[in-house]
Every structure is written in C-alpha cells, then in structure tokens.
C-alpha cells in the first residue's frame, strides 16, 4: 500500500531522510527550515532505522559533523537557511576538496545579512558559483514541490555517492513551509556494515585492516604539481557530471516564440503565467532547470537559435539570468524580472512582464 502524507516541504525532507537510508543528520535551528530538525527529533529515527540525529552548536559544527560522517562512508546530511549556509562555506570547500559525498539543504530566505525570514532565491550564486574558496562545484537540485523535496533527498544521496561530491538541495521558504501531498513510493533501508564496506572501503575511514593501506581523508597537498593534478581530477569529474546529469523540465515548447526560464517556487508561479499568456494567444513555453549546476546550457543554446527571447523571473536581483545570457550568447534578448527581500510576484506580474517585453 502506498504511503501518502499531507506535510510541509521541510517535513518531507525529514521523512525523506529516514526513508532514503540516511545514517546521520546534523543541524542547527533557523527559520524557515527548523521543522527538519524538529520533525526528526519528534520521529526519533535512532529507535527505528538507527539513524543518528544531532543538534549541533552551530552551522559551522553541523557541516564539520557532516564531514566526519561522510569520511566514514555514511549517508549524512544537514539543512539550514541562508545565513547558516554562509557559515558552512569553509566546510563545503573541504568536503569538495576531500571528495566526500553529502547532502546539504538550503531553504532560502531573503538577505543580505540577517535579512528576512520570508522566502527568496537570492542564494543561487552562492550555491552554483561562489560557495567558498577554491575551484569547486556542488551538484545543485532545485525542487519546486513538497514531493520533490522528498524525492531530492534520494536523488541527492545517489548523485553524491555516484560522484563523491557534495550535493545541495536549493529550496526556499515557500516550498519549505507549504503543505502538499507527498507520495512516499521510494523507500530503502540504511546500508549494512558490509554494504558500506563494499561501497567505500577503498577511500573511507572504516578502520585500517590488513587488506589495504591506511585511508586518509584530506584536501591538503603542499606540492603544487600534485595539487594541480588534484584540481584537474576534480575538473574532469565536473565535466563528466555536466555531460551526464543535466535535468530540466519543459512545457509548451513546441511552437514557443518566447521562453520563460524559472526554477523552484518561481517555476510554479511562472507556469501559471505561461497558461495566462497562452490563453491570450501568446506562444510562450516554460523551461524549468531542475539541476542548477550542471545547468541546461545546451538546451537553452538550442532554443536561442529558434525563439525570439527569454524571460527569467527569479526572487532575487538577477542571478540565474546570467547563466541564461551566457547560454543565449547574445542571439536574442534576455530579460530579468525579480522581487527581493521576501516579496513574491504573482502570475499576473509575470504575465505583464511577458506582454510588455514580448513583441
């Protein structure tokens, strides 16, 4: 029998963690994502699946606990909201440098600074480009529903282990706080000790045994020639991911003359706007990137060859629009439409933007 629940996006992350075989969650309260830790403490998974849940003393500590757990070959995760994710920057760089798999959820709020607890998409740059020091990438998933916040926990862990890379789920206060139906078809147990050893003994700190040399988790290398090689290895891995893992969704694109590109909650609002435009006789399609990195650059490049323009609505001052512009490469106009500081546009607002610009 299928398990179906009516829950918040944040609760879906907690439920998804338990059902995806997560071994450890480490977090610190911050609005609008505190329900993740609260739900886990309520559900007490250490008594059912054996999953460890720790309330850390800060996000700095959370991300370094994630680092320690990931080093041991475990499926581990944390969640936070914008200011907390900023505190995790150094840790994320270490995770990427040491090639450790993990899942980090950002339920974004408006900034800068302490900003607002209202939703925003202003951390796109942080997630996709400027997370922290050094040349590194995270795979970034952008859910647009409570169901996807559940599913992306599974996908996040799968991708993280497939490539030994940190994965970020970039959600926001709208999806984190809204309630929707979640179908929990996907479920799986935690890995057994034997499975962990099969999957990770070649690199993880499972205890040195006679069968191998010691494993060391480190991002440090003082010899620049070797350090450059390590960087090249990371970059080669990133090229592989770009070739294999781009995910996006399209609707009404066949005859589209204009394309709206939007992610996460904005894609929900934009899809309504596209319907309004269609009803008014405008040929508009919607492209929703599901992976923000790797970005659907190729697809946008293709579309740029045949459409008249792109509108990029985002709840920020213009971030993903830069990647759309890079893909379009000047072939046709690209417009940004944004609200900031926790303000949200309506479908009518986006429809008006379309009417005013698409001619």
């Amino acid at each position: 029998m299928e398990e179906i629940k009516l829950i918040k996006g944040n609760e879906a992350v907690a439920e998804g963690a338990i059902r995806s075989g997560c071994d450890g969650y480490f977090g610190y309260p911050i609005t609008p994502q505190s329900e993740v830790l609260e739900t886990l403490m309520e559900l007490r998974p250490w008594e059912s699946t054996g999953m460890v849940v720790v309330q850390a003393e800060s996000e700095v500590s959370s991300i370094n606990m994630v680092y320690g757990g990931a080093a041991c070959g475990k499926r581990v995760m944390t969640s936070s909201s914008s200011p907390g994710v900023s505190l995790m920057a150094e840790g994320l760089s270490y995770l990427a440098g040491a090639e450790l798999p993990c899942l980090v959820v950002n339920v974004q709020r408006g900034g800068p600074g302490l900003g607002t607890i209202q939703p925003s998409q202003a951390d796109y740059f942080q997630a996709v480009k400027g997370t922290a020091h050094g040349d590194f990438k995270m795979i970034v998933l952008a859910p647009n529903s409570v169901q996807e916040m559940y599913d992306h926990v599974f996908d996040g862990f799968d991708l993280a282990f497939k490539y030994r890379i940190p994965v970020m789920m970039l959600s926001d206060g709208i999806i984190g706080q809204m309630m929707e139906k979640v179908v929990m078809t996907r479920q799986r147990p935690r890995w057994t000790k034997e499975e962990v050893s099969q999957i990770s003994d070649s690199w993880a700190t499972l205890g040195k045994h006679a069968g191998r040399e010691k494993n060391v988790i480190t991002s440090l290398e003082l010899d620049s020639q070797i350090m450059e090689k390590r960087n090249e290895h990371l970059q080669a891995k990133y090229r592989k991911i770009e070739a294999a893992e781009v995910r996006f969704e399209e609707s009404q694109m066949e005859d589209a003359e204009y394309v709206v590109v939007a992610f996460g909650s904005s894609a929900r609002i934009a899809s309504e706007a596209v319907s309004m435009a269609r009803a008014a006789g405008m040929k508009v399609g919607l492209l929703r990137p599901i992976t923000l990195w790797p970005f659907p650059t190729k697809r946008i490049e293709e579309l740029a060859g045949r459409v008249k323009g792109f509108l990029v609505p985002e709840l920020n001052a213009g971030q993903m629009v830069e990647d759309v512009r890079l893909a379009v490469n000047g072939k046709v106009p690209v417009w940004h439409y944004g609200r900031m500081g926790g303000m949200i546009y309506s479908p009518e607002d986006i429809f008006n933007e379309l009417k005013n610009n698409a001619r």
Partner: protein
Amino acid sequence: MSFQVEITPENKVYGKTPLLTDNVMHYCPGCSHGTIHKLVAEVIEEMGLQDKTIGVSPVGCSVFAYNYIHIDWIQAAHGRACAVATAAKRLTPEKMVFTYQGDGDLSAIGTAESIHACNRGENIVVIYVNNAIYGMTGGQMAPTTLLGMKTATSPAGREAAIHGYPYKIAEIVSMLDGVCYVTRQSVQSPAAARKAKKALRQAFENAMAGKGLSFVEMVSSCNSGWKQSPVDANKWMEENMFPFYKLGDIKVATEPKEA
C-alpha cells in the same frame, strides 16, 4: 676507534612500534609533537586497536599526523576536529576515535566545537598539545601564550591590557558533566613521557568503555616558535609553563555520568 653493535634479538633494548610509519617526521628537532605521536601509536598498538581507530588531525604543525601512524585518518578544518570526531564516533560507535589538536586549533578558533563535544560527553579522546604558541604559522600569540612571552604578534611580550590573559581550557572543560577525565601531562623527560603514556591509555580505555570524553593536555615545547634551542626550550618550559599549567590529573570520574 670504531664501535660496532651487533644487531641481534638479545641485544635489542628498544623497538619502534610498527604502527609508526617510516616517514621522516617534518617536526623541528626538539619538538614535542614527535614524542607524543610515538606514545599515541604505542597505546593504540598495545590495546590492539589499530584496525578500529580513527584519528582526526587538526590544522597546525600536526596536520600531517596522518603521515606517521598506520591508522585511518580524517584531516579536519582548523578548530573543527571535535565536530568531525563527534560524527565519526556517533556513526561508528564501535570505533576508537580521537582528535589531536594544538592550542590555537582547540582553544582559539575551535573553542565552540571543543566545549560542546565535551559537554555532550562524546565518547572520544581529545589530545591537546599546548605549546603556548601558533607553531605552524610562524610563532604568533595563542590564547595560551604566557604573560610577558614574546611572539610574532606580541613582540613586546604578551600584555594583559592588550591581549587578555592566558587561559586554561582543561580546567574549563573539567567542569562539564560530559567529561570523565582531564589530565595535564608533558613529555620532556623519559619519566614524564611514561606518565603521559599511562594517561593516554586511561583516556583510550575510557572512550572504549563509553564513559564520556577524556581530555589529555600535553604541555609542550615549540623551540622554533619560542626561538630557543631544544634544551633551553625544555628548561624554559619547566620554569615558566609548569608553574602556570600545573601537571597532574584535574578530573577523574570513576563512574559514567547518568544518562
């Protein structure tokens, strides 16, 4: 005149534990880190824990501890070793997990992670190498630097009015219920090293018995940072460090704290 020693089992008076690698240590001659590594390796070997132990190395001169002991290691960000160790131990409770941290790492940038791991009573061992200075970055002042002590960032000597006072984090964590054992040791002489090794063994046993966190401070010399010869550095340590950082047990809890 040449002097030859015949290498036979009967003539053997000392052997390096096979747990220590053959890598040449990068430490300055006279530095305490190498001796402490040796003691840690011996305790792990004697307890038969080599396939069960995960070491967490810090950022500091001992960042490369992982090159010297044949166990699995995690290199942690500056100050975060206790958070890293917390997760490693919680997720693999059958393992022996220890951190090895300098005074800058543990009691400056990592104060929060250290205090809270102690307070949660994580079943880990924290080895705290206090040389009253930032050795790795070239001898800057640490929170532990003694008043009057000259460093690269207190060239006129540490002044309380500007820099505050040296602090004793071992005494601070000893007040926390999650901590079962706090001791302050040193390794400047064979006798001191023997005592320090006993303390390490006690700490490792506590962790395996699930008694809470054990904290072993090693008052150490950094002859390079202090700009002294190894012999002078040890003398200076005995005369100046030991009166302030008094050696001996600070807390010995026999029973684990009630859950």
